[in-house]
Amino acid sequence: MARRGDNPVYPLRGVLGRLVLSVSPRSVLVVSDRWSIDDVWAVAPDAASRKAAVKVAKAASWPQRGAVAAPAGGASAVWGECQGSGSKPYLAAVHLDGGTGPAYKCSCPSRKIPCKHILGLLALWAQGEVGDREDKPSWVGSWLDGRAARQARAADPAGAAPADPAKAAATLRAREEAVDAGLAELRLWLHDQVDAGLAEVPKMGYDHWDRMAKRLTDAKARGVSGLVSRLPAVARQENWPERVLEHLGMVHLLIDGYRAGDALGERTRGAVRSRVGITLKAEEVRTAGERVADVWAVLGRRTVPGAEDDMTGLRVWLRGTETGRTALALSFGRAEQAPTTPYRLGTAVEAELSFYPDGHRVVPDAGAERPGTVPRGTAVAAALDSYAAVLAEDPWRDTWPLVLAGVVPARDDRWYLADSAGDALPLATAAPRRLLAVTGGHPATVAAEWNPHEGLTPIAVWDRTGKAIPL
């Protein structure tokens, strides 16, 4: 997750005050050896940045530049002052061996991470145009020192813990009490709806639902609040009586699940709490969550609208090559800034990942990148069984990755993927143009998100040479 600013973005205290700190673990290059130019372009947020960076990557534009040598050889950081059109140079620096992937800092106002100056500087460095330098400007030194201090704090669990554990526990208790009260009220409200009958549901205005949703937000149960505010949309669907009853039934089940508390299995309990809206910080998960070491194959990614209007979410699915464990790395970005991830399709990442209590979501920590291979897929029937098994732990889960082996695009009234036994699952999308182009209609391994209501959304395909292609 890209994080903006230990400093606010636009304070009016000169260039140093405008320095924006950003940590982007998009690249998993933790080694500090000089990057290749391809490594540089791999961290570019989009093609436009890359193009802009090419223009900036001129030695003449960087009168001051240098690399900070790492103790073990290679470079620890690269910095430079870019002479732009304005009177003051832009100050750009990259911390290479920070442990969680490279971190970037630039004083330009761009919201892209990394911006074109960072990319241009890295490109120069990759081409051998930035030499090691003993001295460095103070803005570089203070930034690197600050990062080192933060890393030391993060590495020490005691340091990361809140200053007052008793106070934190009290906060959590207060929150749970608020949620309890909110859900009790929701349960009664649901019963009232069903007692009165659902026939009038489509005619009810947004107010009817929003009032309840707002009360749940006030009760700090944002997750359930979101489920309630989706009801008007559900009531507009075809077959709305069935859809509304399904939805209400599942919300009711969630309430009862929450009230069951410790009686549930650990993963189910984790799924229930996160769906109700009791969230955990990544740091808490790193400290207390289950940790699984494996070589995690990247199955694919999908960008989805975030919970709020101006948010974008990114789901990256991983599968452990040893454990077979499925992991979901979520990241979010504000609308104008694409969410970033350290995982690239076509690779596997050797790492010890920290799992949230639901047993699937992980903290997107970087690891050592390995070449990827074609993941092992199954036929349609076995893939559906895997989804059913997941529902047994988390009956609310409506998105699950399937890796289907030897499937071909098929067409009837709509598009499908069909396996060699003739079993077919419908696609949620129109003609799968890229999948058709890559496979030519020949059997291939395809990774797809499965949603039983909407169908399959293919996210990656492996071509005949074993190359992974995003869809």
């Binding site: 089940l253 559906l384 077919a424 030519g440």
Partner: protein
């Protein structure tokens, strides 16, 4: 918190058909839905013997519990459908452009669309096809820009052709000829219009006579003028004197577009009867005048034979000056140029001189146009020879009199080396920047090293401080038309930056972007060598 086993009655949610699972009593889902609609205050919760028991047995809570059970059972018991796989694409005909070339194409598609034709041309020349994953984006480009279609068809390969069948927006590709096309009788007889066009093109490339006979045999039965035009287009491949007969038939077609196309094709056959008739029409309307001039008499509306030979519609009403001018223009454009040398007893330069002396601008412009259309090098040389050293003067006077100066078609007819050397001699350090820009616009690429250096020198000269747009424009031309290996020979710093400057260093960024584009193209050429 329980679910039925995965095999229990797989049913797509909302699917009224029972699943393939073991037989069960009536699905209680429908009963639950109708009870929920009416409301549990008025109707008892139905029994659900097919579901596990719930803790609550009555009221809203029981209904919701049972609904949740039924819902999860449906999700977990999803039944796969059956659907017919698409018929697979034929085996790849050519190797795929891989690695750096593929990434280059991605960059071109993302933000250097102008270089797409060059990438496609290089790939086709290297015998490579477009990487499959980029075919959809490429086919979309062709859908929006018809000028790209031949290049797209040549580089898309058999996979691209197969893919085009899945999206109506891509159907244009089915009609484009590609080098590896092979005539297939079934597709010719029973294919779509596009496929028939493509098959005829393939046959014309292999056996022009058979292609002509095939088209002639179906010609009378082709009802739609648009189909006739598209099939006639295929005659452009392998065009020869034996095709004149069929083209004459098409010249009498009901469709104006068919007639126009037939005339264009006939213009490429200067040794046929049609060409001879056009020569006669010229002789009937032009003769040497006094004092080494040329006199032209207007074409009348009653000259049915002439109008027919020029694919012009018979006028319905009175014929004015405009129509007469159009008739003459078409006649001069289409009649073989050699008629003029014979008629006036002089060489092309002599003809052009006499026409200039006659003070007949329309005739002069029509002749220049004819040289471009008929792509006659000797005439182009004569026409440009008259301008030599005065090209920019001529452009100015043409601009003042608002007449188009057909410089570009004339230059296009000449070999690259010759036209570049001519262009080079036409401007100097003092030539007005706007004239330099218009002149260079008219010189098609690829430019020679010598011309490129001359242009770079001029960029270092005077006058650009009042013409930033011109500076940028000339930089763009240089980037596009110069052989990319010249990037190392051009000045690496912006020429005359001090003089240029401009808002935000416009000149500087234009020149840098020129060098960037050349480097980009150089890499592209290396990757596809």
């Amino acid at each position: 918190m329980t679910t039925s086993s995965p095999d229990a009655g797989r049913t797509a949610p909302g699917d009224p058909e029972p699943g393939r699972g073991p037989a069960q009593g009536p699905d209680s889902w429908d009963l639950l839905v109708s009870a929920a609609l009416v409301g549990t205050a008025r109707r008892a919760v139905p029994d659900t013997p097919d579901l596990p028991a719930t803790a609550e047995t009555g009221g809203a809570a029981a209904l919701l519990d049972r609904a949740a059970l039924a819902t999860v059972r449906r999700l977990a018991g999803y039944t796969p459908a059956r659907a017919a796989p698409v018929s697979p694409a034929p085996e790849a005909d050519r190797p795929e452009a891989g690695g750096p070339a593929a990434r280059r194409l991605e960059a071109v598609l993302a933000d250097r669309s102008g270089l797409l034709p060059e990438w496609l041309e290089l790939a086709a020349a290297a015998g490579l096809r477009v990487p499959a994953e980029h075919l959809p984006a490429l086919l979309d480009r062709g859908a929006h820009d018809s000028s790209l279609r031949p290049a797209v068809a040549a580089a898309a390969g058999a996979r691209g052709l197969w893919l085009a069948g899945f999206d109506p927006d891509w159907s244009y590709l089915l009609a484009e000829s590609a080098p590896e096309d092979v005539f297939d009788e079934q597709a010719w007889l029973y294919g779509t219009e596009g496929e028939r066009r493509r098959m005829l093109g393939a046959l014309r490339a292999a056996d022009p006579a058979r292609g002509r006979e095939l088209l002639a045999s179906v010609w009378p039965d082709l009802r739609k003028a648009e189909l006739r035009r598209r099939l006639l287009e295929a005659m452009g491949t392998g065009l020869g004197p034996d095709d004149a007969g069929l083209l004459e038939t098409a010249l009498d077609d009901k469709g104006a577009n068919v007639r126009g196309l037939a005339l264009s094709l006939l213009t490429r056959l200067p040794r046929c009867a049609h060409a001879d008739r056009l020569r006669d029409h010229v002789r009937a309307h032009a003769r040497p005048g006094p004092e080494d001039t040329v006199v032209v008499t207007p074409v009348g509306a009653d000259e049915a034979g002439l109008l027919r030979d020029l694919a012009l519609a018979r006028p319905s009403g009175a014929v004015g000056r405009r129509e007469r001018a159009e008739y003459l223009w078409t006649l001069v454009t289409r009649a073989p140029l050699d008629v003029w040398t014979g008629l006036l007893g002089t060489d092309p330069a002599g003809v052009l001189e006499r026409v200039s002396r006659s003070d007949d601008e329309e005739l002069h412009d029509a002749l220049i146009n004819a040289i471009g259309v008929q792509e006659d090098g000797e005439w182009a040389r004569a026409a440009l020879g008259m301008l030599e050293g005065k090209v920019t003067d001529r452009m100015l006077s043409a601009a003042r009199s608002r007449r188009p100066l057909q410089l570009e078609p004339l230059l296009r007819v000449l070999p690259a080396r010759e036209r570049c050397s001519l262009a080079e001699r036409s401007f100097g350090p003092r030539t007005n920047t706007r004239d330099v820009r218009s002149l260079l616009h008219a010189v098609p690429g690829p430019w020679t090293a010598s011309l490129a250096h001359r242009v770079a020198d001029r960029l270092g000269g005077k006058g650009w401080d009042r013409d930033h747009g011109g500076y940028r424009s000339v930089c763009d031309l240089l980037a596009e038309r110069t052989p990319p290996e010249l990037v190392h020979e051009l000045p690496q710093e912006t020429p005359s930056l001090a003089a240029v400057g401009g808002p935000d260093g416009t000149g500087d960024s234009a020149y840098r972007s020129l060098l960037g584009t050349l480097r980009f193209r150089l890499d592209m050429h290396k990757e596809l060598a």
